[in-house]
């Protein structure tokens, strides 16, 4: 039997991690990515990566990391995979260190660790304030090495359109679009791994990169994969509002001592430095004395919302609060946070070493994603998923610096599992479904190119983003969620009249975007309707009309499946694996 062929879609941390494991095990990989893999969204992660190495003499353990992660996620994550991830974390850090990641060091030359939200331990390894960039590069370099050896073939500038499924519903490859020549092609594989990242674009502006549309996940969802916990969306408490996107201000700013405050007097007009300490409202420190500024993200986000919208204390009456680093000396700030401080300086024009930053919460991460089993396989045989595009590791709220870890862990886990699956796969009957799937995609493409109408896809997208941000982020009401779904249905209807202002067959970005948009719209419904159905508050999901967690009814994974019907996806619920840690109330006012 010929050596198994694996296709990995997406070249961020999870995708590259999977590629490395497959290549190391002797397999060959075709790696597809919209952008050159070195430009993937993982570069944006700033603060660090968690591992209980206990190098600060605090008595930290992988069990405590496990407990913090489960508790931080409000008990919605299946515990078996999370436990495995936390146990694997220290060795993953060592490996990254061996690969040359320039982690910050202690004077003795050992790895330095900082503290992040939702824990009381210094557990976060970091490389300045550009940890994601450094980790991605380390894996990118290893993949380049395998590429030079001929074990990996990269298809950069290709966009995944769909899986090719045979008559038994098993994966036999993918169809993809060359974004330059606009050529549609199918590629054979015995297993495919989707590592296609986040879905920020369905919220219009977010901290995500341009390519994070969720289009690939949505395509496979529409082919029959379950989408799990779609309603669980993390809004990062500290982002810099911008015209084109919301730029992240890393949690490490608070990890290194940054304090969040507003003037106690609404609309205080005095220059910042003349506002005395007693007249500053450090609301996180007052409300959460144990964790202070390092409460988990959902807690910090809601507190900022409350201060701005309920107490009317936003700076100058605007939806903004201060994130203040000016009490820390410049040298320390430059050594530990230079990368993120530069971002603020460059994009806002003020020096955060002198002037407190103005920040506000923004959509950041999806805890939900493709449903996978403990081997990272979706319910479609041969289709695996790893990284932000799947749901497995963060429950109802992700802790800071756990995302880089979950990407690498899941990537490492999915690669060998896909290989194992592929080895046992019988040969395909006939063409394995390639002809039919190619024809289906060619028809979709042809129809879109020729479509007559008046709707501009970029304007439809803006309307989607506005409605999702308004109704499906920090605070959710059932009335608003229904409105959001009605709006999505309206947009789907108007999409039928979409008109491309560019009908050329060369590097046509409008065409590629219009295809993504359809998928964004379909996926948005799982978010809005999933949220509508979850009548409780848990982690990042907060409904003032249902302020308590309801374990009896909702300690369950939401599973959405595509119907193609106007009524929207079908929802079912699955028990959560809670075999190690019994669910208990989650509160950050005191030690847990």
């Amino acid at each position: 039997m010929a050596a198994p062929r694996i296709i990995v879609v997406g070249g961020g941390l999870a995708g590259l991690a999977a590629v490395i494991k497959i290549a190391e095990a002797g397999g060959t990989v075709d790696l597809f990515s919209i952008v050159p893999v070195k430009r993937s969204h993982s570069v944006c992660a700033q603060g660090g990566i968690n591992a209980a190495k206990n190098l600060k003499g605090e008595g930290d353990t992988t069990d405590k990391h496990f407990d913090d992660t489960i508790y931080g996620g409000d008990f919605l994550a299946n515990q078996t995979p999370v436990k495995a991830m936390c146990e694997a974390a220290p060795a993953i850090i060592d490996l990254l260190d061996r690969m040359g990641v320039p982690f910050n060091r202690t004077p003795e030359g050992l790895l330095d660790f900082r503290r992040f939200g939702g824990t009381l331990y210094n557990r976060t390894a970091f490389a300045g304030a550009t940890t994601g960039q450094q980790l991605l590069y380390a894996l990118d370099e290893q993949v380049r090495r395998y590429e030079a050896e001929g074990r990996v073939k990269k298809y950069e500038g290709w966009e995944f359109l769909s899986a090719v499924l045979d008559s038994k519903g098993q994966a036999r490859g993918i169809t993809a679009l060359d974004l330059r020549t606009m050529e549609l092609k199918s590629f054979a594989a015995d297993a495919i791994i989707l590592a296609t990242g986040g879905i920020g674009a369905i919220f219009g502006k977010s901290t995500n990169s341009v390519v994070c549309t969720g289009s690939a996940q949505s395509a496979i969802f529409q082919q029959g994969a379950y989408y799990a916990n779609g309603e669980l969306i993390q809004v990062h408490p500290t982002t810099i509002p911008g015209e084109d996107k919301l730029r992240l201000m890393s949690e490490s700013a608070r990890g290194e001592g940054g304090r969040v405050w507003v003037p106690r007097k609404p609309g205080d007009k005095r220059p910042i430095k003349q506002i005395p300490e007693a007249e500053r409202f450090y609301f996180l420190e007052e409300w959460y004395p144990k964790y202070g500024n390092l409460v988990p993200r959902d807690v910090a986000t809601r507190a900022i919302h409350k201060v701005v919208y309920e107490e009317g204390l936003g700076i100058d009456g605007q939806p903004m609060v201060y994130l203040d680093l000016t009490h820390i000396d410049r040298e320390t700030l430059n050594r530990k946070l230079e990368g993120i401080l530069e971002i603020y300086e460059k994009f806002v024009g003020d020096d955060p070493r002198d002037v407190p930053m103005k920040i506000f919460p923004g959509m950041h991460y999806t805890m939900g994603g493709l449903w996978v089993d403990f081997n990272q396989m979706t319910n479609i045989p041969g289709v695996f998923a790893a990284g932000e595009c799947e749901y497995q590791y963060h429950g109802a709220n992700r802790l800071g610096a756990n995302s880089l870890l979950s990407c690498i862990f899941a990537g490492f886990h999915s690669g060998p599992n896909a290989l194992e699956y592929a080895k046992n796969l019988p040969a395909a009957e006939g063409d394995g479904g390639h002809g039919a799937e190619l024809a289906r995609q060619a028809e979709l493409n042809g129809k879109l190119l020729k479509n007559e109408g008046t709707e501009n896809p970029f304007r439809l997208w803006r309307e989607l983003g506005q409605t999702m941000t308004e109704h499906a982020t920090v605070i959710r009401y059932n009335k608003g969620l229904k409105l959001a779904d009605e709006k999505i249905v309206e947009l789907l209807e108007r999409y039928k009249k979409v008109n491309l202002s560019d009908r050329s067959q060369w590097a046509n970005t409008s065409f590629a975007f219009a295809r993504q948009l359809k998928n964004m719209l379909e996926l948005s419904r799982t978010v809005a309707l999933g949220a509508l159905l979850r009548d409780e508050s848990r982690g990042a999901h907060y409904k003032p009309d249902f302020p308590e967690r309801n374990d009896e009814k909702f300690l369950k994974t939401t599973k959405a499946s595509f119907t193609g019907d106007i009524a929207g996806p079908r929802f079912e619920y699955e028990e959560v694996d809670t075999q190690y840690i019994k669910p208990r109330p989650r509160s950050y006012g005191a030690a847990k």
Binding site: V43, N104, E243, K245, R247, N456
Partner: protein
Amino acid sequence: MATKTVAFEIKRQANPDAPAVWEKFELEWRPGMNVVSAMMEIAANPVTADGRQTTPVTYDSNCLEEICGSCAMRINGKARMACSALIDNLEQPIRLEPLSKFPLVRDLQVDRSVLFENLKAVKAWVPVDGTYDLGSGPRVFPQQQEVNYPLSNCISCTCCMEVCPQFNEETGFVGAATIAQVKLFNNHPTGAVLKEERLRALAGDGGIQECGFAQNCVEACPKQIPLTKAISDVGRDVLVQKAKDWLRG
């Protein structure tokens, strides 16, 4: 009240064989606007200043935080990243052109894969034994980390190559970015095992001796990487390597 507007002139080219044309755009000014948000505006309303329908502009972009290296282009003649080019700091009309040293794809999009090929040629990686658990990495003192970290911040934007007078088809020069990566990996305790191979890769035609010390690279680098220092350090190592290889015969 008349709204404040922003004027753009964008060089358009439908494909590598099509003629280049300049199109003018007039957009409503908004606070905090940058070149990328302006192009998003054009995509949502692709109409030129004289009211003619056109197509959205093709350009590379991804993170919009100046960390992915995608959106390099020439803005008012200067090679830089479009996401961090704030409109309020630019003279109008704002002229956008593609990078000139790379094969054009369409409009402002070019093919910069040559950099990734160069990184392959110099083996810009640490050759680890494997990904299984082999314990912790080598000790690195903070002083060493502080030298390596800035080199590792290279975002592969290719601005340094665009502005280099020596980077052209005639010389085949690898450019500053690749040389800085050679320094980074030669500095690493394990990466150093491939040091000789990397230096030899830079010893021939298109290698380090093509550098003409114009120093444009270090000025253009959006990440302030000490590129000229890296070139002089690696240049010295290449000479030493050449001498060693000559003595060995």
